[in-house]
């Protein structure tokens, strides 16, 4: 199922916040169509890792290649990569002064220079995909957290990305809303898009992930297929982490 084409490659990536070494010698290869779940305790560098992939954070050592393009200071290349990589954030980060429909069409119209009618057609298609087309003319503040996050997913999908990054997409949601977001993500995963997802939803990892990556202290401690990862982790640190979150 997983093809051999590499789409993300991180080679010996290092990053510091001031003097704090947040990513240490990260090596990660993601193939086209792969679904990766990244987990680990807070402060372990998971979010920083995926934020480096579309250069919301700058890495200071090593190389990162996305779809064959190396991430450097070249702004044009960064903008190209960003338009191919969709991202969903913990706090949704919808634009509160724009309607849902305008949130979705914004990048198509202003970054891709698409005519409005065409952009709106695409936006409505994706709103239907996340099952809230009836909210198109409301403002983000009028929607529930789960609906907002589904809008955020639709906004990223509008750019027709090759890769989707999820940064703890369900952590800020009420328990009743988590499922509706996870359902949409599972559907996406089944459609074969490349996904890198930071999450603590282990049920999601078990259902759709091709690989689970466990991070601590800025390092990738271990990575494995979900079944083996949950049944027989190699490290004591992983076991401890799993005990703690699976108990809850």
């Amino acid at each position: 199922m997983v093809s051999k084409d590499i789409i993300i490659q991180m080679i010996d990536v290092n990053k510091w916040y001031g003097s704090f070494h947040v990513l240490k010698e990260i090596n990660l290869t993601v193939h086209k169509g792969e679904r990766i779940v990244v987990c680990g305790p807070s402060g372990s560098g998971k979010s920083t890792l995926i934020r480096c992939i579309n250069r919301l954070e700058e890495h200071q050592g090593g190389r990162i290649l996305v779809d064959g393009i190396e991430l450097t200071k070249n702004l044009k290349k960064i903008e190209k990569i960003r338009s191919e990589v969709g991202m969903v954030f913990q706090n949704f980060n919808l634009f509160p002064h724009l309607t849902i429909l305008k949130n979705l069409t914004f990048a198509l119209i202003w970054a891709r220079r698409m005519p409005r009618a065409e952009a709106e057609k695409i936006a409505m298609k994706h709103l239907e995909r996340v099952r809230i087309p009836e909210q198109a003319n409301k403002f983000p503040g009028q929607l529930s957290g789960g609906q907002q996050q589904r809008v955020a997913i639709a906004r990223a999908l509008c750019m027709n990305p090759k890769i989707m990054l999820f940064d703890e997409p369900t952590s800020a949601l009420d328990p009743e809303m988590i499922k509706e977001v996870l359902d949409v993500m599972v559907e996406l995963a089944r459609e074969g898009i490349t996904m890198v997802c930071v999450t603590h939803e282990m049920s999601f990892a078990k259902t759709v992930a091709d690989r689970v990556i466990f991070m601590d202290c800025g390092e990738i401690v271990e990575e494995n297929e979900p079944e083996k990862f949950f049944r027989s982790p190699k490290y004591d640190r992983t076991q401890l982490f799993l005990n703690q979150i699976l108990q809850a």
Binding site: S83, P96, A111, M159
Partner: protein, 371 residues
């Protein structure tokens, strides 16, 4: 008693919420308002009664002075000294000077037309007939034509700027000041907020010194000192120099207000804009600024009101604005002793204009709430 319940086909009880009851009568309507606002406890009741007593003592004499005993028409002879009422005939007589200063009477249609344009633009603004960007463009579009209309040139008789004055001058200085200092202030704020050290220090280098001195100092600098520094042959007239001073002063304050708004925007907004491939300017102009400016509408309107009132300081560099004309009129030997009328009239006009701006700001906030 637990929640009401009835049995259903399954074994579960069906939860039926209780109906909502109306609120107690004494907490709603006019009685509720009186009780909560005016007679809430013995102390507040006494304060209310004292307040009513004060109003009873002050309002009737004020009304009799301002309206019932007032002289509305005629000349100085109709308002003898010691007359126990306002002499509005004085304001009527001085009205033209108060509005347009020494502007020649036979050219009076020009300020009137400018005033008409101003009222139309104001109506377009208040009734929101245009979206914000087009509205600002419209105001800028009329800036030069109105200036030409007042100052003359081409086919119109030139009216020297020393003849301009009154409310026309105050409004002109204030609105050109607001119009120009808003974009300048926003740019300064963006510069100060930017990551580039050089741009940042240039902006701080403009904002802090300008904010650190009183407006009077800047007006003096503009009026008296600037000509000394300008190269020989370059001659900027006094009014323009004063206008530039006002714009700079206002821009420095607006920059700090806007910076406050920028700081209120969560970093996630930048992340989101970047992640869908927007560049710096598109992110700033279309995502960040609309939100930041909305946060600071009350302070921005406050700055505009302050700027309008601050224009009365131009009297110290020899320009006779509205307040200056009021002062000069009160000293007219024919009409001595009518300072009260002059300043009451002046206050009313200032208040009406400032209050309108305040209400406009309020309506902008309401629109923001609605979203």
């Amino acid at each position: 008693m637990g929640p009401s319940a009835s049995s259903s086909s399954s074994n579960l009880l069906v939860f039926v919420p209780r109906p909502s009851l109306p609120a107690p009568r004494q907490t709603v309507g006019i009685i509720g308002w009186l009780g909560a606002s005016l007679f809430n406890g013995w102390f507040n009741s006494i304060l209310t009664l004292i307040g009513l007593g004060l109003l009873w003592e002050t309002v009737p004499p004020l009304l009799s002075w301002a309206i019932f005993n007032a002289v509305w028409t005629g000349g100085p002879a109709d308002c003898p000294a010691g007359h126990n009422g306002a002499c509005w005939a004085f304001i009527y007589d001085k009205f033209r000077i108060l509005m347009v200063g020494m502007y020649p009477a036979e050219q009076i249609w020009r300020p009137l037309l400018a005033g008409g344009i101003f009222v139309v633009l104001g109506a377009v603004t208040v009734f929101r007939l245009l979206n914000p960007l087009r509205l600002i463009a419209l105001w800028f579009l009329f800036l030069l034509p109105v200036y030409w209309l007042i100052s003359g040139g081409l086919c119109l008789t030139v009216v020297d700027q020393s003849l301009w004055g009154g409310l026309m001058l105050s409004l002109g200085l204030a609105f050109v000041g607001i119009l120009m200092s808003l974009p300048l202030g926003i740019l300064l704020a963006l510069g100060r907020y930017s990551n580039f050290a050089i741009i940042k220090s240039i902006c701080v280098g403009i904002i802090e010194p300008v904010r650190g001195v009183p407006l009077i100092t800047i007006l003096f600098m503009a009026s008296v000192m600037m000509p000394l520094f300008l190269p020989v042959g370059i001659n900027i007239n006094n009014l323009l120099r004063v206008q530039i001073g006002i714009i700079l002063f206002s821009a420095a304050y607006i920059a700090e207000v806007v910076r406050g708004g920028l700081q209120a925007i969560p970093l996630g907004q930048y992340d989101a804009a970047k992640s869908i491939g927007l560049n710096y300017w598109k992110t700033t102009v279309l995502i960040i600024l609309p939100q930041a400016l909305r946060h600071v509408i009350p302070s921005l309107i406050g700055r505009c009101i302050a700027l309008f009132k601050d224009t009365s300081l131009v009297i110290i560099v020899g320009l006779l604005d509205f307040l200056g004309m009021v002062k000069a009129s009160a000293q007219d030997p024919d009409w001595l002793g009518h300072d009260a009328e002059a300043y009451v009239f002046c206050s009313i006009i200032y208040w009406v204009i400032c209050f309108s701006m305040s209400r406009y700001g309020h309506s902008l906030e309401q629109k923001k709430e609605a979203e």
